[in-house]
Symmetry: C2
Subunit: 412 residues, 2 copies
């Protein structure tokens, strides 16, 4: 037996072939959850699973599994994967890299005649992006027991079609119960979606955990007077207060904690006319840190800033926290397995935290979990211009292969 | 002959009856330009013109005239009026007060058996509001030679219907050429749409002129990265730069000139998602002053602020001036006529400038023009809650009556 190795050519050919499905003119892909293009992507994936000799299962959420038996078929399997649904006009790497690399790992094991102690399964999770059906990470969320199946099937898109109906329509409502039935560990390779690896010039990120975050919805109510005849000292301008808070959010990231990030991403102004003082603004604040206390403190600071800005301008303002997610540390064992795999492969790596959520977050609640990042050029993500150097993708798959081999062996 | 006097009851009854046309549940009116409700309002107005014995003319723009002859029918007439089109779900006073008061003035003259030296005409201008067909003040603009008739007829609403077609449809495309054929002077009574008269506790404003203004359109282009994994020092956030400029606009009104006002009224953010850094923001700046140099200086300051904010944030920004209107002083003779009329009536008055534009602006380009304001409660305008105390409306009509009487006599 030789050591298993990624077949660069096969991996690349599959990557290119897969990304012709739903390809956009601008070099991206448009395969939102349960669309026709998403069905075609699923068909292709299952065909490749079968060609690779894997035992295919489809669960009630449309999560796709391909299983390769180990020496002890009763042992808990190592699960490896990501997702293949995309943003509307999204990139070619987000999710796809992790699923095709997982398949390539099993192909490499087979090529090398490697028999693992534990079964290894590749998985493609449904509805990770959350652009057509909210919330995101719905398939892994049900699998990990975070959401009810019924709740998930009842989620609707903008046209009022439910997740369950659409899953049925594309023929991917499977019969396997969507639940974890004993799991040794979970590994996921993903593009970073941020600039850290590129900035450091390192191909591999060993992800230690995922930032916690808070989402705030802020509503400001002023008075919609005419922009001409209303003297400055008689105004209650909801947008002036909003600008004040946005500036404060930027400022407090400088002093609120080392890794604190803060963003005002969505802003809706009413009546939104050139010559009318804004009466009402609804805007959002997103604050994140790997330290839960830092997030909690930032939320309190934002609340105080909103209150001070409202007082200054003579407007009313209300802050609602619509989501709070705690920071989540991955399993130490998995982290060390990935670090050892990177060292064995001779790839430079850094340990980092993920600012974005992934299916791995939910898996981490039910089994030891680890993640590998590869660089995103310019940190670009969720856009057609998303790009990762192919040699970095292969390096990531190589580390995944070595990590999964370790995890699937009794020595791990 | 007795002195002409406003008939409070007749005036009030007509005001109430008129505002049943297109009345909204919230106490406003919905009679946008050339709508069916606008046609009904025109029908009612012309019926009252005829009942008052006025000679009716409808011009090619649908401006409605009612003429009362003077001693010398060949003399240039005094024109008195405003408009009866409304905002979508607008208020009951804006425009209506000026037209019905003009009619009431002619009724008062007739009741008193007053023969004026000059003819006096009441006018109701088409499309003052500019909410359905842009630009605003279209009827008076063509009349004053600012716009071509063909241009005005070709203006389209959101459904692609032209002003000319809609004017035809409601039966108000008249045959009288839309042009001034000798005009002695123009007087307009209007609600203030600002808080000055109410703040000072004075019922009458003698308008000395109208603020000049500039409208700027600012486009900011940053980068749409993920709000989580993108470190603060790697961001180009189009909304942070926008907030910076909005704060600067507010700040510069404090030092840019006594009467300078500045407003960021319209803000559109893309992609406008809670977890995505804003890539592109398009926003507007409205600056006004009665001093043209102050407006010009404010525009330059805003340009510098945009440039500085863009540099700080590492975004690109472009400023386009989409409109510049010079400040406009009304005729000294008309101003003094109105002031004398207010004194004669025993109504307290202040001299003030209008922050908003009116039909009177265009008339001022072709004939001596003056305006009278009455208080707007809380300065509210363009909303269903717009309100003026009836006694103030009557005081305004009284001053209008006395001013027009003076203007229509050879002594003036």
């Amino acid at each position: 037996m030789t050591d298993p190795a990624i077949d660069d050519r096969r991996f690349r050919e599959r990557f290119e072939e897969f990304n012709r499905i739903g390809a956009t003119d601008a070099g991206g892909v448009n395969r939102p959850s349960l669309s026709d293009a998403n069905r075609e992507a699923r068909d292709t994936l299952l065909e490749w699973f079968r060609e690779a000799g894997l035992e295919v299962r489809i669960d009630e959420m449309g999560n796709l599994f391909g299983r390769r038996e180990g020496r002890e078929s009763g042992a808990d399997p190592v699960l490896v994967g990501s997702h293949v649904d995309s943003q509307y006009n999204g990139g070619r790497y987000d999710g796809v890299v992790g699923v095709l690399a997982a398949l390539e790992v099993l192909e490499a094991f087979a090529d090398a005649g490697l028999e693992t102690d534990r079964p290894v399964e590749v998985v493609s999770w449904s509805n990770e992006e959350g652009v057509r059906f909210q919330p995101d990470m719905l398939g892994s969320g049900v699998y990990a027991g975070r959401f009810d199946l019924e709740y998930a099937h009842g989620r609707t898109d903008d046209e009022g079609r439910t997740f369950g109906e659409e899953l049925e329509r594309i023929g991917y409502r499977g019969e396997t119960p969507c639940e974890a039935d004993g799991l040794h560990s979970y590994f996921e390779l993903h593009v970073e979606q941020g600039p850290i690896l590129e900035d450091r010039g390192v191909p591999i990120g060993v992800v230690e955990g995922v930032f916690g975050f808070s989402w705030l919805d802020v509503t400001v109510e002023g008075q919609a007077d005419h922009a001409g005849p209303t003297p400055m000292d008689d105004r209650a301008d909801a947008f002036v207060a909003t600008a004040d808070v946005a500036t404060a959010v930027r400022r407090l990231t400088a002093t609120g904690g080392d890794d604190l990030v803060g963003t005002v991403g969505s802003v809706d102004v009413q009546p939104n006319a050139i010559n009318v003082i804004p009466e009402r603004v609804e805007f959002t604040v997103d604050v994140r840190s790997y330290d839960n206390a830092t997030v909690a403190d930032a939320v309190e600071r934002v609340r105080r800033e909103v209150s001070a800005a409202a007082d200054r301008e003579g407007v009313r303002a209300e802050v609602t926290e619509i989501m709070r997610v705690e920071a989540d540390a991955f399993d130490d064992g998995c982290i060390e397995t990935i670090a050892a795999a990177a060292e064995e492969a001779g790839h430079e790596y850094v340990r980092l935290k993920s600012g974005a959520g992934h299916d791995a977050n939910y898996l981490n609640e039910i089994a030891p979990t680890g993640m590998i990042f590869v660089p995103s050029v310019d940190g670009v993500s969720h856009r057609e211009s998303e790009y990762t150097e192919w040699e970095d993708v292969v390096a990531g798959a190589d580390v995944l292969c070595r990590a999964v081999r370790r995890a699937a062996s009794h020595q791990s």
